[in-house]
Every structure is written in structure tokens, then in C-alpha cells.
Symmetry: C3
């Protein structure tokens, strides 16, 4: 059987040698392991984004893939260092600090274990007294051992209840009286799009169709910050350059963009539980 | 026979999970496929740059390498999703929106096929109604199948005439009366260099030699924006730090730099058909 | 025996096609070679950082790994293009311009050879007259041949004395009268931390313990720019968000951070021989 692929995501960037050190640890455990960079550009300390990006990409990988997710402002303190197994057969090696929120909610974590540092932490190379780089000394090392088959999932360390996983609250969207309301849950920081927590199916139930202009209202902490009639369509090219639009994103969630522009930037809109959005027919 | 390498270039950046999703699709098609990141930092929507970067790097790869180039502002609209074969045996999987301009002009596209979505589009995983991520659902999936040998080039989809490939105009440089004129065609945005469309051979014909100081004039939309005597030499170190210089770039095209500085930035000069440049002996 | 891994670090970024061209050269030499991106975001022309990053990550890689380090402002001029072998069995393919400083000091270079361009430079593909891209035409090509086993280390080119390696001066820290003094030697530009040249062991000798508040003074060119009592502890989470702290970094060197902030940025402190720092008990 082929060994599992390792997919990394961190907030480390490539500005210094941290990524190289982690990848070296993996290759020193087992030369055959395949490492893929998911991203090292998660916004700094943004555990919510780490959680969302895991959810966003995981299902497109082969079953058994081992994800290493290190956004870890609490490194060296009490938070657990863990390996989770999802209901669909993936592994996530991560500080248990909220980074499993979306997977647990939308995919399901079936088992989680705390990494036993006495066994699954890198030894030698002057690392024993280092407390600030679990990405290298603990997560990469343990993940490599798991992917390589040197240890089984059971040998990661002691199991603990899935109910103890640290989670952020996830808000649910709502359809009421022809109005669909939710929040902007995350952004696409490259293209400046904002993704809501509203599934396309709810738009369908509401009777909204591609080609419709919908009334969109956005509130931040209760203050209205956007109110326009906006085209709902399949893709960006259906709107004129510079115009806002509503579309179905790659995860089947209703999203907003400016065609060849930045919806976040031009309208100064963010994401999180304080950013409410409502769609209705005109 | 070894399976073809996949080399990716996009304008997606690593700021969110898009790259990871694409690479996961490839690995789900065939675990053995090798993925190399060409770049995910093509300037946003800059099809011209995508076209140039393909041309810049392709010949250094083994014959048969499959390039996936996704700079796709028209995703989900009428532009064709295609696979091209070059005269020297490479494949490019790309929206046919201008990204094949330089290859077609300077290398030659010998055959092009439109991807048959009924066969070569990812199925399941809640992707069928997604119209905005052909990079994941169409280009990566089709490229992986081609590189893996699951489909032959013929099975990509129906062929269409090479003459129908979308192309940007490419301007030709000129040598007349001892003056060599052309345009700045592209930049090196990292080091701030500008690359002209003038081959070194034309400088040789004109009698310009390494060590010469040449009169350089640059016009933007007809207005002169730069006029200096500049050293033409082999490499940056021959000029003093901070001085402009003319050199032969990695593609045998005459280029301009500031030694350990930025020619683009310091002289506020860009590239494209509106940026004319002329070189002559003093 | 498995072929050596190639780990790349440059200041090229991914903004254009240079990285892709280099990696293509490697794969054209030998399809089986494994390429890992260490980083392409070394600060521009910053040979000191290149040197430090090699030292920082190397020991975590398998013995025999071939590092390609190209920060090369003097490309095409007189500086030597070399391959060094370290005392612990790694290879570095690099311009000999200072990039071997830390390895030579702290690990040891046991042998160094100048690349023989007549044998180990890429031929064809219109590269012969290119003087500005040794990363592609010389370093990647030679490194691939070495890692592949096509050439032995001896066949790289003629040996020259290790004593001729170009080095920057490295300053030593000092413990005197209960005061530990040194310099900020490098930064972590992502998290805004600064790393001194003072080993944890010197703090132990001085009697400083985790949990202590230490008096920290920083001078720039002799002028005091920082003077505060700062917590010395194991990890960032022991300080309140926004507070400065002293910690033991991943290389067992005393470092300074702002918990979830940027020590460099908030206190406007840099690194290099002009940035002195002193620690003492209150």
C-alpha cells in the first residue's frame, strides 16, 4: 500500500527557514513520504481560517491523506497537540485549538488522540529544550511517523472524547418569509470575494434563480453597511467589470464578488459573526 | 514509461485553499503523478503574463510535460477550455483566452482540443453545479487524466483549428539606420527589470558590444519618459550599485535593470505596446 | 541507494518564471530527482540571511541532501560558483559570496570545489550567451548532476582551500558580571521576532531562569533604543497578548518577541552588528 500523502498548512510563510526545517524532519523520518504544500499563508494566528481551509480542500484528496495544520498561538502552553480522524477517513495533525471546528461540524470527527510527546516528539539535534516550534518537533515528526506506518493511529497517544474538541460557534443561515439571511463566514482574500454560510439549496428553496437581481443588505454589528440590488448568476463573467454579483461558490455556498474587482476591498466588508447578510427578491 | 510531470501556474496565490483543492484532485486521479508549482503568483487576470511565463520556462522541462495554466477571468462563460500540443511535444491545459499567444508565435502549437466536459470534468463531491472553479473541476482533473495516461490527447475532446486560438498581437522589433527599436514586453517584477522584445542578435547586427554605452530613449504613449546613456554589459555586477544598465536576459532578449535596484520602480516605467524603447550608439 | 534530495533557497520569489525554469532543468537532468522548495523569499540580495537559513534548517534533513542556495548579486562577475561539503555530510551549491558563513563557523565546511563550467553548465536551449541566470544554467544543472550521481563531488571541479571561503564576521556573545550581551543576529520576519547570538546555555550560566523578569537594553549604533523589564519564559503564551518577552528559540538562541505581536515592528528594532542587546537581573 502506498504511504499517505502529507499536506501542510500553516501561518509560517516562507520568509524564513521554518518550513524547510519541518519538511526536513519528515524526510528524515522516511525518505519516501510525499509532502505537498497546502498553504503557508493562513493569516497569522487565524485559527478560524485554518479550520475553514481544511474543510474547503480535504475531500478532494485521496482517503487516508494526513493533513498537518499548524496555526498555533498557544504553542508551548496547555492546549492539546492532537491527531483527529474524520468520518471519511482523513487524518489531521494539529493543535486542538479550534482548527477542527468545520470538519467536526460538517464532516464529523470520529476519533481524536493527544500526541504522546514521550514517543512522538523529535529527539536530538538540540531540540529537547525548544518549546516554541511544535510544528517541527511534534506535529511534523508525529505526522511523518503516522503517514509512514511507523506508528498506527492508536500509537499516536491516548484517545479523548470527541466532545472535548475545542470548537468555535458556527451560525446557521435562515429562510423566513422569502428572505434568506446568514453571515459572511470567510473570504477569498486573493480575489476579494466573501463567502456566506448559506447553501445554494436554500436559495433554490427561496425561489431565487440565476439571472435574478436580488436585494442584498449587509449589517456590521447591526449597522447597515451595504444595500444594493445585485445580479445572482453562475460566474463572474456574467456581470460587467466592476459590478458586484452574487454567485454559487466552489463549496456550494452563496458568495459575493465584484467582477474583476474586490468585493471586500471596494465595500469595506469583512467576515465573522458580526457581519450579517440578507437576500430577498426585489 | 514515466508519467508526465504536471507544472501549475495560476493567479490564485496561496492565500486560501484553491491550490490545495486542485492538487488533491490530481492525486485522487492518480497517486503517482508528480506536481510541481510553477507559480501561483501570476498578476491577477494577467493573461499576457501567463502566456509569457509559459514560454519562458517550458523548454527547460522534459518533453511531454503537461502545463496547467489557469488565469481565467472568463471562467464559466463562453471561452473554450482547451489542451494544446506544442511543436516540441509539450501540453498546455488552459482556458483559450490568449494564454497561448507566445507559445503559438515562437514555438508553435500543432494541435488544440476543447475539453469535453461530459467526460473530463470532475464528478461528485458536490461539484456539478459549481461554475467558478474550472481550475479544480476541469483543468486539474483533465490534466491529471492526460498525464496519467487514462486518456490520450485525442480523448481530451474535439479538435479545432489552430487558427482559431485566441491571441494577443505581438509587436516586432526593428533595426534601422543604426537604431534598434522595440517595446518593453514584460517585466521581472521581483528584481524590477524590464525585458524588451529585441533579441541579442539584433544588437550584434547593429554593432553594439558588451561594454558600450548606448543612448536609450523610452516613450510612453508617445511621450519621452527616459533618455540616458546606459552601459550595455553581460551582467548586473558590471554596473555600479544604483546605476541603470542594459543586459542580455535569460531568454536572449535585451533588457534593462538598475544594478541592485529596480529599473521599473525608480524610473516608473511599465510594459506593453504603449512602452516603446530605442537604443543607438552615442 | 536513493538519490539525494534537492532543497532550493533563493531570493527569486515566484513572481515570474525563474523557479519553474530551474526546476525544469533539474527534471531534465533526471526525472527521478526530488525537489523541495526551502524558500524563494530570502530578502533580496541578502546573503547573510541566505547563510543563516542554510544553517537553520540543514541538520533536519537527511545526510547527503544537496542544498541549492542562490542569492547572487554578483552573478556573472568574478565570485566563484561552488559546491561545499559540510562536516556532517551535506552539500551546498552556491555562489561563494558569504552564503557559507554560518555553516563554516558552526558546522564546518570540510571541502569546497569551484564548478567547472566547461562540464557542469547547461548546454543548448539558447543558454550559452546568458550571463545573468547561473541559478538555472549552472547551480541547478550542476546540483542535479551531483544529486543524480552523474558526477561525483570530485567531478564538480577543482578543489580550493576552505580558508578561501568568503565569510562575514560573526560576533560572539559575552557573559560578564552577571550581564549577558550580544547582538540581534537575524529576525523571524513573519512573526516579527528577533534572534540574538546568545545561546540558552549562557543564560543558564548567568543564572537566568524561565519565569524571571530581566532588564533588557538594546542599542543601535551606540544609542539606547529599548530599556524594559521583560519576562523570560518558555513560550509566547506565557506573556499577555501585546507584551514583549524573551524566549529560547528553535536553535537554542535567546530571542525576543511580542506575544501575538511584532517585536521588530512595534519597537522598530533591526538586526546586524550595529544592534547590541544586554540582559541582566533587575
Amino acid at each position: 500500500m502506498k504511504k499517505a500523502i502529507l499536506v501542510f498548512q500553516t501561518d509560517f510563510t516562507y520568509k524564513e527557514g521554518a518550513v524547510s526545517s519541518m519538511y526536513g524532519v519528515v524526510k528524515s523520518v522516511d525518505r519516501e513520504l510525499e509532502i505537498i504544500t497546502g498553504t503557508h499563508e493562513i493569516p497569522q494566528y487565524d485559527i478560524w481560517s485554518a479550520s475553514y481551509r481544511l474543510y474547503q480542500s480535504m475531500k478532494f484528496w485521496p482517503e487516508g491523506t494526513v493533513f498537518v495544520s499548524v496555526v498555533d498561538p498557544g504553542v508551548g502552553t496547555g492546549r492539546k497537540a492532537s491527531v483527529a480522524r474524520t468520518s471519511d477517513g482523513y487524518y489531521v495533525v494539529t493543535p486542538d485549538n479550534g482548527s477542527l471546528t468545520h470538519l467536526n461540524k460538517w464532516v464529523g470527527i470520529t476519533e481524536i488522540r493527544e500526541i504522546d510527546e514521550s514517543v512522538n516528539r523529535l529527539k536530538g539535534k538540540d531540540t529537547e529544550e525548544v518549546s516554541i516550534f511544535h510544528g517541527r518537533d511534534l506535529f511534523s515528526y508525529c505526522a511523518a511517523r503516522l503517514a509512514s506506518g511507523i506508528i498506527s493511529f492508536t500509537q499516536v497517544g491516548p484517545e479523548y472524547p470527541v466532545s472535548e474538541i475545542i470548537e468555535y460557534p458556527i451560525l446557521e443561515p435562515e429562510l423566513k418569509g422569502g428572505r434568506v439571511s446568514g453571515i459572511f463566514e470567510i473570504n477569498d482574500p486573493n480575489f476579494g470575494n466573501l463567502w456566506t454560510n448559506i447553501p445554494l439549496s436554500m436559495f433554490k428553496t427561496a425561489g431565487f434563480e440565476f439571472g435574478d437581481y436580488l436585494k442584498v443588505r449587509v449589517w456590521h454589528d447591526g449597522s447597515k453597511v451595504f444595500s444594493e440590488d445585485v445580479l445572482f448568476h453562475k460566474s463572474f463573467g456574467f456581470a460587467s467589470k466592476g459590478d458586484p454579483m452574487i454567485y454559487n461558490n466552489e463549496l456550494m455556498k452563496i458568495s459575493m464578488a465584484v467582477s474583476r474587482g474586490s468585493f471586500c476591498g471596494e465595500h469595506n466588508i469583512g467576515y465573522g459573526s458580526t457581519w450579517a447578510v440578507e437576500f430577498s427578491k426585489k
